[in-house]
């Protein structure tokens, strides 16, 4: 039996009259490579926002490794290993790539309150940064401010920042958006190469990536879980084809 790292129970979110998330009970297993797909506006991003504490649920709860984290603040969830990336890049515009990564690493190591010690002299931090830079193809732009990076590089940094948090659960909201086809595989293979005990939930509209990466898929439609199954099952599911996949299943 595999352990469940992340679980939601009857999670619900309403925006006025709109039910953006409807009674979702979802489980993410340890080490899972799980994809969440669904039509535009189905509530995938909202779901991630609920998991990470950006939005407060109207009802239901979120459990991380058996503990109820529904009331926990965002940063508390991150410190417990629940990390996300954003659909639209969220970078530190005034900092350069190295500084951005360094501050994330410092924070992860619990150094964030040290206020008299230089930020860059934690042992091994330089090697770790260098590793991240080359993994995500950022070594050619390492001292450029984030705001001046080309879009594709920004996208890569977006992911690198999350990976630098050493997550237990990584929530990826369309990580490949804007990354050119050629580099997508590399990004995804880098993500796939994360330690096996890291559980990953991927939101993506590129079915090539989803089918290659995930071993389990959930389909969200109109805020509610619509189907769940293996890649095989979902790609063959007629109902899923109808509402979401269209002809892409056999791509």
């Amino acid at each position: 039996m595999t352990a469940v790292t992340l679980e939601t129970r009857n999670l619900t979110k309403t925006f006025g009259a709109l039910m953006a998330t409807t009674d979702v009970s979802f489980r993410l297993e340890k080490g899972a490579r799980h994809a969440l797909i669904g039509p535009n506006g189905a509530g995938k991003t909202t779901f991630i926002n609920l998991l990470t504490g950006v939005l407060k649920p109207s009802d239901g709860s979120v459990m991380l490794e058996g503990k109820d984290i529904t009331a926990l603040r965002r940063e508390g969830r991150v410190q417990r290993g629940l990390v996300r990336t954003f659909q639209i890049n969220q970078l530190f515009a005034g900092l350069n790539v190295v500084e951005s990564l360094a501050l994330v690493i410092n924070e992860r190591e619990g150094q964030g309150w040290r206020w008299l010690k230089p930020a860059f002299d934690a042992p091994g931090i330089d090697d770790e940064i260098a590793g991240l830079l080359s993994d995500f193809g950022l070594d050619s732009v390492f001292d450029q401010p984030c705001s001046a990076l080309p879009y594709g590089k920004q996208r890569l940094l977006e992911i690198a920042l999350a990976v630098a948090c050493r997550p237990k659960v990584l929530l990826l909201d369309e990580p490949a958006a804007g990354v050119p086809e050629a580099d997508r595989k590399e990004v995804m293979s880098r993500l796939a190469a994360l330690p096996a005990d890291v559980s990953i939930l991927l939101i993506e509209h590129d079915m090539d990536l989803v089918f290659n990466f995930a071993n389990r898929i959930s389909v969200l439609v109109a805020g509610a879980l619509f189907a769940e199954g293996s890649v095989e099952e979902i790609s063959k599911d007629q109902r899923v084809k109808q509402v979401y996949l269209g002809g892409a299943a056999h791509a």
Binding site: L103, E107, A119, F120, A130
Partner: protein
């Protein structure tokens, strides 16, 4: 044997190290600046009064820079902490002791004590909200000081402040000789501390919050707690500035708590540039000297020309002086900085062929 990938990675690590080393290093321009400030004590004895005022102004602006330039909180209420620091040290000298260093400490504490609860009011809301909340808090304190005239002397100012000689030896003279040396040393210490703070993990987390609070919290930074911390620290800075004012002038009026004071502090900081600690210094120096010169040429209408200068300054680009400083300091210190060259070679190496 190292693989190509490993080689590349170790070259990158080397470059990263050199970028990191650049941080927190004293530039020659900076050193020169301090040498000139010290030299001014010997060479310009007639200007010590205005220099003291500039230094105090600069500390006030520095305290604003900590919250604005590093944490992105705009404030129009720094006078609250400045004024409370000023009154605290003044009252201390009247009722307890006139020893100046104790006064500074008490004022720092008083400033922090005001800033801490205020900071919770600033955690939500955008620029305008923060401007107005800080302004409101300062205005309320101003009014309290006005009403409590039994304690503060009200609108007439606090009378009877007597500051002991510094270390029991150096009297605060009317020429400002002691005052300037004293304030300059305090400024130096505060700036040194601020340099450490801004180059620390804490400092970088502030910059992250300034640039993108949403992401900052998503990488585990406790945004609210950090903002409270830095606002409190800045309150202590402002309190010290207020105490220096009291001690060097031996007089306080309600103006230490006025909107004007907050606005001036913000203005000189913005003139000098935010986010590099020296902005307040540069701004205070420029602003005071220009105002002084203008008002001795035309005591009645100097504001007109000051206004025209401000407009011209903004239109031509406020970061010009900053760029100038950067380019000068780059030119001065280039031979000492091989990091940049490394970076270029690595960048070339980094390209897949």
């Amino acid at each position: 044997m190292m693989s190509v990938r490993e080689k590349r990675q170790s070259a990158t690590a080397e470059a990263v190290r050199s970028v990191m080393k650049r941080h927190g290093r004293w530039s020659r321009l900076e050193i020169g600046f301090w040498l000139i400030a010290v030299a001014a004590w010997f060479l310009l004895p007639g200007e010590h009064l205005i220099l003291t005022e500039i230094v105090i102004f600069a500390i006030l602006a520095l305290s604003i820079d900590l919250v604005l330039g590093y944490a992105g909180i705009v404030t129009l209420g720094q006078a609250a902490m400045y004024g409370v620091g000023a009154y605290a040290s003044g009252l201390l000298s009247i009722h307890v002791t006139g020893e100046p260093l104790t006064g500074l400490l008490v004022a720092a504490l008083a400033g922090a004590l005001i800033a801490f609860p205020t900071s919770f009011l600033l955690l939500r809301g955008a620029d305008l909200t923060r401007l107005m909340v800080t302004l409101g808090v300062a205005a309320v304190l101003h009014e309290i000081a006005n009403q409590a005239s039994w304690l503060t002397g009200g609108a007439d100012g606090l009378q009877g402040i007597a500051i002991d000689p510094l270390f029991g030896t150096f009297e605060f003279d009317i020429y400002g000789h002691t005052g300037y040396a004293y304030s300059l040393v305090v400024l130096f210490i505060l700036l040194l501390l601020a340099r450490f703070v801004t180059a620390s993990p804490f400092g970088y987390s502030l910059k992250a919050i300034r640039d993108n609070p949403l992401r900052a919290s998503a990488v585990g930074i406790p945004v609210k707690a950090r903002l409270v911390a830095v606002y409190t620290l800045s309150g202590a800075y402002a309190g010290i500035a207020g105490a220096l004012f009291t001690q060097t002038q031996q007089f306080i009026s309600l103006d230490v708590l006025s909107f004007q004071k907050s606005a001036d502090g913000l203005m000189v900081l913005v003139i000098g540039g935010t986010g590099y600690l020296y902005g307040g210094l540069v701004g205070a120096l420029a602003y005071e000297l220009i105002q002084d010169a203008l008002s001795s040429v035309t005591p009645q209408y100097w504001q007109f020309w000051l206004g025209a200068l401000l407009i011209a300054f903004v239109i031509t680009g406020r970061d010009r002086p900053r760029q100038l400083i950067n380019s000068i300091s780059a030119r001065i210190s280039r031979p000492r900085q091989p990091g940049r060259l490394d970076a270029v070679t690595v960048a070339d190496k980094g390209k897949p062929t």
